[in-house]
Symmetry: none
Subunit: 148 residues, 2 copies
DNA sequence: AGATATCACCCCACTTTTACCCACTACGAT
DNA sequence: ATCGTAGTGGGTAAAAGTGGGGTGATATCT
């Protein structure tokens, strides 16, 4: 599964190296190096799914009621930004310009493992996100509520 | 399946290039590059179906009770605007003027993958539709409701 | 009916983008 | 030191996307 964080850099063409550890996971545990990358539903980052995981996620999205406008928007945000990518011989993928823009990716990007999937952040945004967590000192009531 | 978003431009004759990825899907997964394009039922955009998918959709529409006025209107909106199109050697289709008008298509158009089908939007309308989503930060109650 | 306009279709030419290949650096292990 | 692997930069051929004719069919007007 996808663990740990990696700081890689994206070149001017929009190519980034997928961390070798993640590629190993894809090759060994999924037997398929292809990735589906989309905008995350909730945060300003991209989320990468192995093919099987993407199928699961898509199945959920397909259940959204088309009659509901917000549901259609949720569906669109995710599906209409998704791309299938396969690392090249160097282990890199080309992130389409639209996705780069959506996640505000610049040169420095950060990979964050999320078990079944992983996230791709602009380093600056990632930093802000994690700084906030450190500063905030989790609300004990919430921790109890979630049994942590 | 149809994924991802593409920004293409329509020329003065009303021709637009179908994204190469979508044409690949049609050729490889359906063995038939023909598309049925109609007005979308719910939004101000066009929706394109591979032949088999159109058959499914049409079968549903045929089940509408003709006794119901709204049902007849729904049927007309979709069926009476449908055209069968096949990309030319350059990969383009000619969108009939009536459909262009219905979806307010101008020069800049946006293709949005929707898994089994794909949507064709005027860029401006698409932008409005998606910008709203970013600002709105989906209602958490709804996300819980749908199990996302 | 004949002349004229309009539209869809096909072909060609150009620009931009992408895919693919090769080369280099940094670092760790042997 | 040397080898192997991860990560980075760049160049080049192919493909995608775009604009603009020409032609033949059909429609319109006189």
């Amino acid at each position: 599964m996808f663990l740990g964080g990696y700081a890689n850099s994206m070149d001017e063409k929009g190519r980034v190296n997928i961390p070798a550890d993640y590629r190993d996971v894809l090759r060994n545990q999924h037997g398929d190096c292809r990735l589906i990358i989309t905008r995350d539903l909730l945060d300003d980052c991209l989320r990468a799914y192995p093919v099987a995981r993407w199928r699961d996620w898509l199945a959920k999205l397909e259940k959204l009621p088309a009659s509901n406008r917000t549901a259609r928007r949720i569906y669109r945000r995710v599906v209409s930004s998704a791309v299938v990518l396969e690392p090249d011989k160097q282990g890199r993928v080309l992130i389409p310009a639209s996705l780069r823009q959506a996640a505000q990716l610049r040169k420095a990007v950060h990979f964050a493992g999320a078990n079944q999937t992983f996230e791709i952040w602009d380093s600056k945004l990632w930093q802000q996100e994690t700084e906030l967590v450190d500063a905030e000192d989790f609300d004990p009531a919430m921790l109890d509520e979630f049994g942590l």
